[in-house]
Symmetry: C2
Subunit: 319 residues, 2 copies
């Protein structure tokens, strides 16, 4: 792999966006393409909300709110106060500045633009050079199955705060969804050097991308290495319900179980030093392992992990 | 006219809303119905904005911004800042709290509710007892004719800040618009004691209402008195471009010219003391005249003018 090769990163929200920021500081940003999960997208109060795209956009533009893990830093909340006064649904918080994104996106989509076009124009307006591709321009809705019935993802994640027990997942309309053509082109193009699955939730952030019709076959045919970074460190998810989901689904909530989830697809798996004891178990799945620090607390640790991932990809690509 | 009789007020934005607030403090609010101009309504960034309804709603709920004359007091502006960052159209200011109104309205309309239903629910959620009726549930667009061509009202009013010379007005789609049925019912109902045309712009706030198909005939057949309050005091409009429009249309910019505009329709005209010298000229148009203080600087003066209007209506109704 030469330094000028393109990197494709598959990402959900916070964890994925952190690694993407590290990559953007490590390589030429014009050679980096992020494919963002849109299974979390939903319409709320008539607005089209794309949580993972927004987290990537805000993170790459330096506008992200590091405390919340979503939305913008220095946000105001007058819209929510007004909404409550008017008796509107208030379980999903929308910051005032953040609303500009949702209103503009919704309006552009209503005018006939694709989510890809809107995303490109919005990230460019914020000076982001990295390409951000919605996984598909077609609607896909992640549904969380629970003993009390199915829940739309944001109802599970935000309204119910991940409390319900998870028995499975469904990606509605995925059979009719076309993978983003730019993603398919990149996978078939020999200038793309590697695919990196970011440390995002395997079930609700990465699987919607992997389940797009034809994508798995195209990934299997991809010439370069595919690697993933474990979102589970020391048996816990850095953020979000991944570990809780794994327990509820009857798997161990550890890095090796994530590796097993991706086995057959990936060539290498990046785990944290605290999980070094799982190396052998993971290697037995037929993949290489890199052990490094994977907790991204600041920009330096994001860059360090990105450098490790790129070095690992280069090693995996070596003949 | 007995105290229990209903009053119908026809209103545009600021000036009309002030008199309506005075009326709401003077009579039983459940007997007051405000018919709001919707010719200024427009879609902006995909949101349905009803400026005159909102000004009436915010004024009656005590949320209005008295400095701006539109929107909410104590407003924040993060949405506009975000919009500018993203390259969105920023000529029309939308406050963050105010957005809750536009987003909820747009969403309800998209779900199939009528503007009347949405307006009723929104004003009730703010504890407003006064009925607020959009003049029509059908779209009507006020167009301002200028030597350089037609301008949509908000483009004239906000984007161009009323600078273009006005040569006339057009109310697009008005021939297909149905007057609000509740307005027609009230005019045909003998419990309605009087119609008061608030001190709003005659051309762009009141005329759209009066030009609704069938409305003028129904007003002509209305049994009670119809009176109007001059929006022009001492040759000037209290707020807005009414006087400038009158000059550009080749009329004197005075109270008498407004009376002439309404002659044949109204039974009485309320003018300010500073315009007392126009009393005879106005009486010659075939209407009664009340001279009082019409400048509404505070709640007391709003109530005083409302009391004067109700007394005038009672006098006009006396056999």
């Amino acid at each position: 792999m030469t330094a000028s090769r393109r990197i494709l990163a598959l990402s959900g929200g916070v964890g994925g966006a952190k690694l993407v920021l590290g990559l953007a500081h490590t390589m030429a940003p014009e050679d980096l393409t992020v494919v963002a999960n849109t299974g979390d997208d939903f319409r709320h109060l008539g607005l089209h909300i794309s949580p993972d795209i927004d987290t990537v956009v805000y993170t790459l533009s330096g506008l992200a709110n590091p405390e919340l893990g979503w939305g913008r830093e220095g946000e105001t909340w007058s819209f929510m106060a007004g909404l409550r006064q008017l008796g509107g649904e208030d379980w999903f918080n929308l910051g005032d500045g953040d609303l500009a994104m949702h209103v503009l996106r919704t309006n552009r989509l209503a005018e006939g633009a694709s989510l890809s076009q809107v995303t490109r124009d919005l990230r460019r307006s914020l000076g982001i050079i990295v390409s951000i591709l919605p996984m598909s321009d077609d609607p896909v809705q992640t549904v969380v199955e629970t003993p009390d019935g199915p829940l739309a993802f944001q109802h599970y994640f935000v309204r119910e705060q991940c409390a319900p027990i998870v028995t499975g997942f469904r990606f509605e309309h995925i059979e009719k969804a076309h993978p983003n053509p730019a993603l398919m082109d990149a996978l078939r193009d020999d200038t793309t050097g590697a695919v990196i699955i970011a440390p995002s939730n395997p079930f609700v952030s990465v699987d919607p991308i992997l389940h797009l019709p034809g994508l798995r076959q195209t990934l299997d045919a991809f010439a370069g290495p595919i690697l993933a970074v474990s979102p589970i460190v020391g048996g816990k998810a850095i953020k979000g319900p991944a570990a809780k989901m794994m327990r509820e689904l009857g798997m161990p909530s550890d890095a090796a179980a994530v590796a097993r989830h991706y086995s057959g697809l990936i060539d290498g798996f990046v785990i944290d030093r605290v999980d070094a004891d799982q190396e052998d178990e993971i290697r037995k799945l037929g993949m290489d392992v890199m052990i490094t620090g994977t907790v991204m607390r600041d920009l330096d640790s994001k860059i360090a992990l990105a450098q490790d991932c790129l070095a690992f990809a280069e090693r995996l690509a070596a003949p």
